[in-house]
């Protein structure tokens, strides 16, 4: 299946779905070292739901971090 994380495409062989926790390991080396929040296809997903929320073919994950703002 194919997914996008922050606009970058990832091809994941024959898997039908993976958890957000697993998907984040594609993006980060050490997710626990970073401050971030996640949206799946434009909907917020809380940290407590990362293990049980599945990312499927064609899905898009946004991983956001705090930055300066006005």
């Amino acid at each position: 299946m194919n997914i996008h994380i922050n606009g970058k495409a990832y091809a994941l062989g024959h898997e039908n779905h993976i958890s957000i926790t697993s998907a984040l390991t594609l993006h980060f080396i050490e997710p626990q070292q970073s401050t971030f929040a996640v949206a799946l296809n434009g909907d917020f997903v809380g940290k407590t739901d990362y293990d049980t929320t599945m990312v499927k073919n064609g899905d898009s994950l946004d991983v956001l971090q705090p930055i300066q703002g006005g």
Binding site: N6, G42, F44, K47, L64, Q65, P66, Q68
Partner: protein
């Protein structure tokens, strides 16, 4: 006298942004110099190769700790209510605050808020338990509708973001103050000079939110102090009671026994 944001009393009436400074260190020094206890921030896509994100987050946390202050995440960049609601939830998880500076932009040219999407987003976020601080135009009816929805704080613009043009429509802003006497009104965006902030406070506004005017100054730290003092001056002037304007001159020096006086 203190600024009331959803029941939270703050000594400083200045809310300040964390963007556009020459460096994170200057940002920190300027914010501390301003005396502000509310610092805005935003969210963007995380880049694992970029270390600066965590550094900024640490700086912001240090500032909040030193000022006994609050983070105010914004929804900058959102163009629909749905985007803003999603970003607000993400911000709440990261910043651990129900406060959200709600921005929904309707036009890329002047970054003018979209009043319709703004109202939809505010309504949903209030249902979701947020304390919404909406950034809006100086339209009385939009401000009234936001207040009626439950926004205790309303933040009309002075002029478009980053222009430094100051108060474009003083009449509109004065009317909003007059018609919403119980709302916490914070003038947001377009402030250029300390005198702009002072003028807003003289109108009876409760506070001012700004960023570019400090961050883009030649000396951001000194400008931050200047804004802090300007807000205090404007607030004290408002509380003291400003004299009525008069159409004709009135001598301030007593006229009795004026020297060299003679009958004309």
């Amino acid at each position: 006298m203190s600024l009331n944001i959803y029941g939270q009393k703050l000594e400083s009436r200045l809310l300040i942004g964390s963007a556009l400074y020459p460096s994170p260190q200057v940002m920190k020094e300027a914010i501390l110099a301003s005396g502000s206890q509310v610092v805005t921030l935003s969210l963007k896509r995380q880049n694992p190769a970029e270390k600066s994100g965590q550094q900024i987050w640490r700086y912001l946390q240090e500032i909040v700790k030193q000022t006994d202050g609050h983070l105010l995440p914004n929804t900058a960049g959102c163009k629909t209510a749905k985007e803003a609601v999603t970003l607000a939830h993400m911000s709440r998880e990261i910043c651990q605050t129900d406060w959200i500076k709600l921005e929904v932009i309707g036009d890329d040219y002047n970054l003018q808020p979209d009043p319709i999407e703004l109202l939809y987003a505010a309504e949903q976020l209030i249902k979701d338990g947020f304390k919404v601080l909406p950034y809006c135009t100086d339209d009385l009816v939009v401000c009234q509708r936001l207040y009626d929805l439950g926004c205790q704080v309303i933040m009309p613009w002075a002029s478009p973001i980053g222009t430094g043009k100051g108060l474009m429509n003083p009449y509109n802003l004065e009317t909003i103050r007059f018609r919403l006497p119980d709302a916490t009104l914070i003038l947001d965006a377009g402030i250029g000079k300390p005198s702009d902030a002072c003028l807003a406070m003289e109108m009876g506004y409760d506070g001012v939110l700004l960023n570019s005017a400090v961050a883009l100054a030649d000396n951001p730290v000194l400008m931050a102090k200047a804004f802090g003092q300007a807000l205090q001056a404007g607030e004290q002037g408002y509380v003291a009671g400003i004299m009525e304007q008069r159409q004709t001159a009135h001598p301030s020096t007593p006229t009795l026994d004026t020297p060299f006086w003679h009958q004309n």
